[in-house]
């Protein structure tokens, strides 16, 4: 009579084991093909045929110092930009969100719209307007690669906002700050010693996602003629596709580990003894390709 709805770990409408394996297996297999093709490509032995690890060995033996030194420089650029972007998130976004949350609750909706807005503005459109802004900026602070962090701060805004906001929703920031104030704490120590420690998961998740987005950014750097990891890989791929693919595989793997770490942050939130009303959603949701 009630046939068809099974209960898997308390989820009554979950699919059966066979259905699950079939769907995940089929999609997983298809999605593995391009990655396998990349690996196969790097192991090819040129015209001789057959496979070996020669290209991987060569790249690591001499590549990382000689001809591929620009890639290392580009990687350093990207890491520097990631740090700069995280600083923007920490110094500009976090205090503003807290201030709005505590003192100007009526502005909350405005801030949300403002922070989510960059999703609906394609990077390729932003770059059209950023070109004149950056040439103006160059007159004051030069045209170093690091200035890109200003643009990336905007690109990561929706992701960072969501990660921090989902944490903020579950913490009674107002009461905490009032309690600290009534015990004689100044605003700075309320911020640094009470609020930030309580929001560290959201802030950390926001910072991680910012790093992932910046390391993957191509559009803005490419069209403003700055060198970062992605643009350097494209340059390498023109002369030496094999090395470009090897480096891409490594970058994808590192990014995977980084995002796995973010996922852990999201789920650990359940564990503390004190009941935390927020649902542990992974803050990596949403997003638009660059």
């Amino acid at each position: 009579m009630t046939a068809g709805i099974r209960s898997v770990r308390g989820v009554a409408h979950a699919p059966g084991r066979a259905t699950r394996l079939l769907i995940l297996g089929a999609v997983g297999l298809v999605f593995a093909v391009p990655i396998l093709a990349m690996i196969e490509f790097t192991l090819r032995r040129g015209l001789v045929g057959g496979y070996d690890f020669q290209r991987w060995i060569e790249l690591f033996q001499n590549g990382l110092t000689g001809e591929y030194a620009p890639v290392l420089v580009a990687l350093a650029n990207s890491v520097g930009l990631a740090v700069g972007t995280v600083v923007i998130v920490l110094v500009l976004l976090v205090p503003t969100m807290l201030l709005v949350h505590i003192r100007f609750p009526r502005l909350r909706r405005t801030l949300e719209i403002l922070c989510i807005l960059p999703i609906s503005i394609p990077a390729i459109v932003l770059v059209v307007g950023l070109a004149p802004v950056f040439s103006g900026l160059a007159r004051f602070v030069g045209s170093g690669v690091w200035t890109l962090a200003f643009a990336y701060g905007i690109t990561v805004l929706p992701f960072a906002y969501r990660a921090i906001q989902s944490n903020l929703d579950g913490v009674d920031v107002r009461t905490l700050s009032e309690a600290a104030r009534s015990l004689g704490a100044g605003w700075l120590s309320v911020l640094l010693r009470v609020l930030v420690p309580n929001l560290r998961r959201g802030i950390l998740a926001g910072a991680f996602i910012a790093v992932a987005v910046v390391l993957g950014e191509f559009t803005i750097a490419s069209l403003l003629s700055r060198v970062n990891l992605q643009t350097a890989l494209v340059v390498v791929s023109k002369n030496d596709p094999y090395s470009a693919v090897i480096l891409s595989l490594l970058a994808l793997f590192v990014a995977f580990l980084l995002l796995l770490a973010i996922g852990r942050l999201g789920t650990e939130r359940r564990r503390p003894a004190r009941a935390d009303p927020t649902t542990p959603t992974t803050p990596t949701s949403g997003g638009v390709q660059s």
């Binding site: 699919p15 391009p34 200003f150 891409s248 995977f256």
Partner: protein
Amino acid sequence: MPAAAFGLLPFAVYVLLFLALPTLIAVGTGFVGNDGGFTLDTVAALGDPVVLAAFGSSIWLSALTAIIGAVVGALVCYALLGARTGGALRSTVDSLSSVIAQFGGAMLAFAFTATIGIQGMVTLLLQERLGIDIFADGVWLYELPGLVLPYIYFQVPLMIITFMPALASLKTTWAEANATLGGTARTYWLRIGLPVLAPSFLGSLLLLFANAFSSYATAATLTSQGAQIVPLQIRSALTSETMLGRENLAGALSLGMILVMTVVMIGYSRLQSRAARWQR
């Protein structure tokens, strides 16, 4: 205004300088003519057959890959329903999805060149084993049809990320109520599951459309010549000022993109607020 309002200034100035100003410039330059005065000529270029064709291709590509991505992604979400949140399976799928959806970009172009390029693994396998030449009618990987597979490859993961929370919010009690009242799995999905999920699904579909529509990196890396879709036309307009003999064409194209994105994102936020009703 209290003194604390000054604390909002730094962020306001930052957003004004790097979000509002660039967007206004991007859209505004479309109205500036060669002589620096106001003109509608450049915006009129949006009616040019070449430009219209690019918008057509962009919309076709985005719609096709959004629909396929949404259906496949929703199936994967369904398959993941029984898996524990934070378990090994879920966190691996989540992280892999985020990597591909947000980090892929240029690298997906390499991946698909290695897969279905002229010397790609799948191309050669099909040729040697089955005698099928996928490029019998010419090499299509570096043209519009070649973008379909890479785009689907990053659309499905985005669907998994955005749709999973909606599917996970289906309440066990609803299934139990359905069973108590004598319903079957069929009535559960037709009367409860699908109607509740419809706004979320359509919302995610629109987000996927927006994602493909604004995507640049994969297409730019895969096709170094030609400009079949709007983002690539903006590239040519930016790099060669003389395209179609009009300056500031990039601005007009940006305006067109923003218009499409605005319509899509308004639809998305409407659907999201409808969907939010069930996600408490």
